[in-house]
């Protein structure tokens, strides 16, 4: 089996990086809204309750993508090194 050229690996890594930025961007946005509601005393408990669901879900999605990415790519690298 022919190995993927280096540029393909770079693009794949860039894709994973962008997805990670997206997930942390969403989490950062949610945290910012909690801070805002806290500062304005604008029922922060509601914001915290929603973030308790949304943030773990996004982290789980990031985890699944990383698991697949490194699981599949790792298997190729392991096979090639053997």
């Amino acid at each position: 089996m022919q190995r993927d050229p280096r540029w393909v690996l770079y693009v794949q890594n860039a894709g994973l990086f962008l997805f990670t930025v997206f997930v942390f961007g969403v989490i950062g946005w949610i945290i910012r809204l909690i801070r805002l509601s806290w500062t304005l005393d604008d029922s922060p408990s509601g914001s915290i309750a929603i973030s308790l669901i949304a943030i773990p879900v996004f982290l789980l999605l990031l985890g699944v993508v990383n698991y697949v990415f490194w699981g599949i790519r790792g298997a190729v690298e392991k096979e090639d090194s053997q």
């Binding site: 089996m1 190995r3 993927d4 393909v8 693009v11 794949q12 894709g15 997206f22 997930v23 969403v26 946005w29 949610i30 809204l33 909690i34 805002l36 509601s37 604008d42 029922s43 509601g46 914001s47 929603i50 973030s51 949304a54 879900v57 996004f58 789980l60 999605l61 699944v64 993508v65 698991y67 697949v68 990415f69 699981g71 599949i72 790519r73 298997a75 190729v76 392991k78 096979e79």
Partner: protein, 448 residues
Amino acid sequence: MRPDAPTLELDLALINPIVKTSRTFFIAAAFLLLVILWANLAYRSQLVEGLGVTGLNQPVSWGFYITNFVFFIGISHAGTLISAILRIAQAEWRRPITRMAEVITVVVLFLGAVNIIFDLGRPDRALNVIYWGRYQSPLLWDVTSITTYLTASTIYLYLPLIPDVAILRDRVSRFNWLYRILALGWRGTERQEKVLQRAIAIMAIVVIPVAVSVHSVVSFVFSMTLQPMWHSTIFGPYFVVGAIFSGIAALIIAMVVVRKVYHLEAYMKPIHFNYLSLLLLIMSLLWFYFTFAEYLTGYYGGEPEEMKVFWAKLTGDFAPFFWSMVLCNFFIPVLILSFRRTRTILGALLASSTVVIGMWIERFIIIVPTLSHPRLPHAAAIYLPSLVEWAMFAGSIATFILLYMVFTKLFPIISLWEIQEGREVGLRHMEERVRAYLPSTPTPSSQV
């Protein structure tokens, strides 16, 4: 998971749409692009002149765009939810259906979100949600849950695509760079299969509550207000039921079209349509039950503001819409799908088409009649969509069809490896499962 060359030859029909493109495809694409261009011109006029070019005004400030938003988000339940449920239930007949459903989800979710931007008038106002959003508002719950669902659905579409993309990488020269990137170096080793199967199983479980939350939250935008005929505790499940209902209908329509256009009769058999038709029939009955419960409860309460809207729907200005909705969502599908003789592919297509129309009308008459009869001292108003709104609606539908068509030209619309897996291990697994359901055969000694 990786089909061998001889077995792959059996399923070349699934790759044919990617390597061969007929003239009809280009003609259809050109026509759709024209419609999208028309919608773009309409949007441009809205950007320049403001929302005054639409039929929206006070008191009816939500019309076609919000109707389309709720409608498209509903259709999105076709894919990920149905596919995930069938996958978890290990329904073997899911194999030719899942991908077609998952693509619908991703495309219509995107369109649903875009319709909100249309409704804002000034698209830059969307940034206010980023900067100054308040989590007390169900509108912000919508933004969060739809973003989550779109992300989860895209991952759920991509993961089962990896083995098929690897096949295309090895066999198709056009867009080879794209397949190479997306395949992640897939070789079908035991380790890779294990990783992928586990990830798909996790995602199938994750997307179900996310999907349910999305349409519940969409309903909360209405039910968390004190507006007549919106403030209802059953709106969450009512919307979810309606979403699955319209989703199944959209899926059946897509299946009939893809089957006909790409000659995939060998993969999508009458039995697949029969099973989906039975699901559609059940959802039609469930939808009727929820509608009946919703309207009966409102009627029995007899609250004056509520009754104005109630009678406007049943006998007033909105009666033609209301009764068309009941006809399209209940009487026609139930009549067609209850009988084995009419529960054919054509019957399923007819019933699904009426359901899609009926569900769009349902979204319309949930939103507009309530706003037409406000509690505030406004005169009752009737809403008439302008040509701009019709153009944007047509453009949304055209964008959906075009993106779907483009997907079928880039990737197999039926999962190759899942069909192969069905042939190789599905039969054995099913036999084992059926054996596990049945009581074990008694041995001669235990009979005594």
